[in-house]
Symmetry: C2
Subunit: 233 residues, 2 copies
Amino acid sequence: MGDGALPLKKVKPNAEKRQADEPWKAFQVRHRSMEVKRDAVMKTAAHLFLEHGYQKTSMSLLAARLKVTKPALYYYFRNKEEILVECYRSGIAEIEGSLGRLNPDAGSAMARLKIYVHEYATVVLTHEFGRCVAMIDDSELSAQTRRGVRNLKRKIDASVRSLVADGMLDGSIAMCNPKLVSFAIAGAINWAGTWYKPSGELSSGQIAQAFTDILTGGLRPKSSKTRKRTIPS
Amino acid sequence: MGDGALPLKKVKPNAEKRQADEPWKAFQVRHRSMEVKRDAVMKTAAHLFLEHGYQKTSMSLLAARLKVTKPALYYYFRNKEEILVECYRSGIAEIEGSLGRLNPDAGSAMARLKIYVHEYATVVLTHEFGRCVAMIDDSELSAQTRRGVRNLKRKIDASVRSLVADGMLDGSIAMCNPKLVSFAIAGAINWAGTWYKPSGELSSGQIAQAFTDILTGGLRPKSSKTRKRTIPS
DNA sequence: ATCCTATTCTACCGGCCGTTCAAATAGATA
DNA sequence: TATCTATTTGAACGGCCGGTAGAATAGGAT
């Protein structure tokens, strides 16, 4: 945390790595690609948004954290809202990635659902932009921007629902309302984002596993063709 | 709706009932018990908080909805925060009521847990103050007030955990981490508060039932009925 | 050394916020 | 009717916000 004066003009070779932990260093050098600095802004903003909430995070504070002045931010983003939207986009892309990686040919739908729930929890607990998707209410956004973001979220929801529906067809998941199942999963995990602390006694992996069990355990068919040695009632 | 000029000075006999739907009528008459007007403020505030968020709900807007001017509110509450805190208190009391009504002598812990989950969902979906507890982030509060509110919430959480622990003892609930179960339940249901619309296709009762099934289904012991055995070493 | 332009800064705007206080008012009381 | 007090109001406060205009500057290119 020692923020001693650094009169450096040239970046050191390991600056790229440093930037991961101290995003403001991206601004130490004047000429650097737009993308790098946008990333630095987003990353810092995400942390502040998650810590204090979107509304209570002022552009001045964000600028201060990046060791720049406020107007500099407006060189990289049109306004505060755009920063949040980009955080959302990034987080949603991450989650969609998890969904896309599920191989439809491998295992039952239930097996795939379990993998997804586990991955979703991991992203929401450990990935800053994933956390934004889970925790920051999109009602902070203007009407039309919100519509865009919600469409993206809806796509994820739709994928999960169809996963559940598939499971009901292949017998790996009990009869249920896929919409409500999808919401229950999203809710329980998103909520975990609000209380999980990396320094806490439970690791993100433990939480992801436990939630996978709790949330998919209730979906086991009570008796079905794909059972492996179930108890005769 | 039609807010025509109402030069009434006296309330009509059915005013008490009307006030339920139109809280501002509590302020139509100057001399009325403090409690009635405080309730009116809280009720209206809760609706606004839930609709626009706490931060974005201004005291001016709240006053306007109650057809009073801003300073009048400060006659009934010290500040904005106190209004939110009272909403919390009321909601938490409602939830604690549900927990208190569970008869420890009747049925298994699992049966009681199911009842509680159902009731919690109902409160969070239908009761305005319950919704506040579920939806409004208490980080909006000042540090010391927040501590008080969190203590109250923790009591609820502790009750649910011990309910789950009881279930593991009486064999009605499978081995699990009570803390995570409690969080999963709270999360899934609190989240429902964010998307549930009374006018939607799903009734609060349907949602409460489905969530009870999904969330407690995964807790069924995998083998055997009620066995009084403790943890098999 | 000079220029050029991408980047950052200084200084400021209008607006809304929560809150306060003294003055006005309504309505119960006598 | 006149009085007294619980309620309500008008007017204003300091403060911080998101955002902008335009000047300053750094640093690569020549």
